[in-house]
């Protein structure tokens, strides 16, 4: 039993470390968001299962499962909202990004030719008003 708890703890914290390494190493806000939200949530899920197995009583198991439920409900929503807001404030996208579906959807059905890809780098911000 304690071997399983130990294994789950190590796996969970390694996933958390993986998410942090991704946040540091990824080239772009949106790819960083993938690393942090998926790996971090999975790691905390493993740790919560470990705590539920260690204190094996009803209240603790329910609370651990509730934490997992909250995280799995809120993490994708939070990531989506951050990505949406970041896109609307024109955060620079990685210059090797292949496809920007939101931009294509906003431009209608017009097929973006590869020469337009340079325009995908939307690094320029609003010029200062004063």
């Amino acid at each position: 039993m304690s071997i399983a708890v130990a294994l789950l703890l190590i796996i969970g914290s390694l996933f958390g470390l993986l998410g942090a390494v991704g946040v540091v190493r990824m080239p772009d806000l949106f790819t960083r968001l993938q690393a942090s939200t998926k790996a971090g949530t999975l790691g905390v899920g493993f740790i919560m299962i470990a705590s539920a197995m260690h204190f094996a009583d009803v209240g603790t198991v329910v609370r651990s499962l509730l934490v997992i439920l909250f995280l799995f409900l809120t993490a994708p929503v939070a990531a989506h909202i951050i990505a949406r807001a970041a896109y609307s404030v024109k955060v620079p996208i990685w210059d090797r990004t292949d496809i920007d579906e939101l931009r294509l959807a906003r431009e209608g059905d017009r097929h973006a030719d590869p020469s337009e890809r340079a325009g995908l780098k939307r690094g320029e911000h609003h010029e200062a008003t004063d």
């Binding site: 294994l7 703890l9 190590i10 807001a85 609307s88």
Partner: protein
């Protein structure tokens, strides 16, 4: 239940705490360095998520399941904080145009 953990579990607790602290350190690096505000928000969100796990590890270490309440509340509050940041960023994106209209 106030007994000691056996050797494997206490080693795993110490190791996972060290790994978690390393992860928080890396995320703090991104929080300090992140070129834009959303990068910092992502790093802060990751720190909060890892803190939920760290509190659970601490609860196992101390034999106190009461601490799981803390991580439950933290998991909820983190979401509200992130949504508030995103709302603020949306407002900030809308602001420059409004200011231009006001000035003319």
């Amino acid at each position: 239940m106030n007994g000691e953990h056996d050797a494997i579990l206490s080693f795993a607790l110490a190791a996972s705490m060290i790994i978690i602290v390393t992860a928080v350190g890396l995320a703090t690096l991104r929080l300090l360095r992140g070129p834009t505000l959303p990068d910092r928000v992502v790093a802060l969100d990751l720190i909060g998520t890892i803190a939920v796990g760290a509190i659970a590890v601490y609860a196992i270490t101390e034999h106190k399941p009461v601490y799981l309440n803390v991580s439950m509340v933290l998991a909820l509050l983190m979401f509200i904080g992130t949504v508030a940041f995103a709302y603020y960023m949306h407002k900030g994106a809308a602001a420059p145009d409004e200011r231009k209209e006001d000035r003319s």
